[in-house]
């Protein structure tokens, strides 16, 4: 049995080497492609130029910020984490949309509120303006067949022009 003991240290060394190598391989930073960088940079805005997404901005500063995105990606940051990092460093203006908090809620609430109010006013106006059904029945002649009706309406509209 002792004859086989010499294998043990070799096995241990091999095992240790294997584990270390595997760890080293898993820890090797992945080099992100241009597309991966652009996918994140496209969701960010140049902190110094106005209204230019980071993925298409040609300034030297933006090239450096794209490198920073690449670096963060290689460190394992997610897109959301990178966006949060940029917002922390350069302010909310780097985000494509205002974050949903405080005054910024107004940007999301006001337009739908206006549209709903418009629809409500329109609905109320329809109800107020609308002629009662009975009067309507008297005012409107029975609807004839489609072909004749269409021609009549068309001629009428052309006359009214």
């Amino acid at each position: 049995m002792k004859r086989w003991l010499w294998i043990l240290p070799i096995l241990l060394i091999a095992l240790t080497f294997g584990v270390v190598t595997a760890q080293a391989q898993s820890g090797t930073p992945h080099t992100p492609t241009d597309d991966e960088v652009n996918a994140v940079a496209g969701q960010l805005y140049c902190p110094v130029c106005e209204n230019i997404p980071l993925d298409v901005c040609g300034t030297q500063a933006c090239a450096q910020w794209r490198d920073l995105v690449r670096e963060k990606l290689s460190q394992g940051y997610t897109a959301d984490e990178i966006k949060a990092y940029f917002a922390e460093q350069y302010g909310d203006r780097v985000l494509a949309e205002p974050p949903r908090r405080g005054l910024n809620w107004l940007v999301y609430i006001l337009p739908p509120a206006f549209i709903l109010a418009g629809l409500f006013i329109l609905f109320q106006a329809f109800r107020t303006w609308r002629i009662p059904e009975a009067e309507q029945a008297q005012a409107s002649p029975p609807v004839p067949e489609v072909g004749d009706e269409y021609l009549r309406r068309l001629e009428e509209e052309l006359k009214k022009r």
Binding site: N38, V56, L95, A96, V107, R130
Partner: protein, 686 residues
Amino acid sequence: MLVNLGYGAVFITALLCLYSIGAAVYGVQRKQAVWVDSARNAMLLIFPLLSLAALSLVIQLVTSHFEVAFVAEVTSRAMPTYLKATAWWGGQAGSLLFWAWLMSAFTSAVTLRKWERDREFLPWVIVVGMVTLGFFLFLILAFENPFARLWALPSGRVEAHMFAPQGATLFIPRDGNGLNPLLRHPGMIIHPPMLYLGFVAFVIPYAFAIAALITGRTDDRWIRLTRRWALWAWLFLSLGLILGARWAYDVLGWGGYWGWDPVEISAFMPWLSGTAFVHSVMIQEKRGMLKHWNMILIITTYALVIFGTFLTRSGVLSSVHAFAQSEIGPAFFLFIGLTFLASMSLLFWRWNSLKANNQMTSFLSREALFMLNNVVFMGILVICFWGVIFPLISELVTGQKVTVGPPFYERATAPLFVVMLLLMGIAPLSAWRHSTAKTLGRAMWKPFVVSLLAPILAFAGGIRLWAALLTFWLAAFVAAVTLYEFWRGAQARSRRHAEPLPVALWKLAGRNRRRYGGYLIHLGVVLMSIGIIGIEVFQTETQRTIPQGGEITLGAYTMKYDSLAIFDTADNRNAARAVVSVYKNGEYVGELHPRRDFFYDSQQSMTIPGVRSTWEDDFYVLLVDWLPVTAEGATFKVFHNPLVNWVWFGGLVFILGTLVAAWPERETESAAVTAWQPGGVHATGD
């Protein structure tokens, strides 16, 4: 000499504006027609005078008189003559003169019409036109004088002044800065004039609306007199937007055509309210309703026209388009505020005389659907307006600047665009005054069934995105309804008058150009929406650095980097021009030449894409300009843009439809009106 002539012409024009306003008001107060006629004659002088000013500026630009600050700012010796001439509207001071010149042309055109029947409008149309023009002339004289010259002061500083400061000598630079490279594009040469034509033309219906409010002539006469003006204004604005989109696609290098940039939106907003207006006025003409609303729409459009110019020119909201920045912002802001308040006050003053003559009879009538359409357009307008001004509000209130970018606009407006398409499909089938679900259903079922083919075919073709399938169905539905309307009308007329179908269609469309032009516009929108879905939903892109001989594959396409040539051009550029071969499914389909040009005079570069365009898609190759471009290796950004050419084709159909709708008809104005009595009585004769 020429600059003095130009400046003098602007100065005299400003005085004439003031005189014209004073004479018109005095004439109407004193009921003395001679003063109003004098105001009109003064207004007629303005166009030749401003043409003289414009001509003197263009001569300065073309002949490279760099002692003129504006000429030195926007031109250089190396620029071709046509670019030097069109640099007139490439900078702030020149574009304000351009605006004023166009305005003078439009006011002169209005003055030349027959005024016998509408004399009560004339003084107030003059006042509104001259107040607007006077404001722009004031900006030119007080802040942005394109004729100011460069003077070397005794201290050694160089400043721009109209007249020589004490002890100063004229400073003549050896060369100018040259036009911003991004503006050296055919689209950008025509795009601003079209937008400005649209902006300026909308002032005319506004002037008539204000005249109607002041005089109390609140029937639909002002609408009938200005409906073609409004359509032409809308045509130019639409054309300006389409050309701007094309310019962005060709020049800005992001592979798209619309970036929801504040300046793009500032041109889009008056278009939205103008679109609501051109639909809504039909309700007033046909049914005598929505008189208040039409006033609100034209007042809003006017305010947005000035606001749009303000956004572009003030630099308050800097963006890729805001090349010019100056101190004219507060003046613009004050003018918009004052004119808006004055107009709304007039409206409230006349509120009771603007009562509707008719009542709504059906929720499904065409007028009801048009009103819903108005809510949709105004909803999109509110989203745009709020998105544009919110960063300023945020900065004012919290000190924190925020960006409101495309994701916000796309998410907020997409449902409204869907509703808009749906209404475009339903409204043409509904009748004025009265429609029921039954009559509408009966008219709609055939186009509805045909339209279902589109999403079925798209699904069979492998498309699984519900948003794309829905939009394809809607586009097909609107197209089917529109073509069905053409066919039904032509068939009915053909039967009645025993005419061949094409003759019947031609005569029918000729009898109501606005109706059938409108249908063509709808078809244009359908085609554009197909293109928009193609690029918004199915666009793909990739970016890679490859050596010479290297390849990039994107979908069915492969591009191979063959060679690169770097050379100087005669107009002072350094060009890096790559040659790439393009293969589709392995088969060679052609060669593209993406390039990067560096302009020595302005020290700026621009990228020009190489594009393979077909009805099916665009294969769009850019040289990434911030990375080294060498024969050994270069970085390319490649886009696959499916169906994008349908946007441009749809745009052409759209413009053609607007031309048909806006084309003058033989109808005489007297046929439209027989009598009018004060007190808001609806007394049209047709």
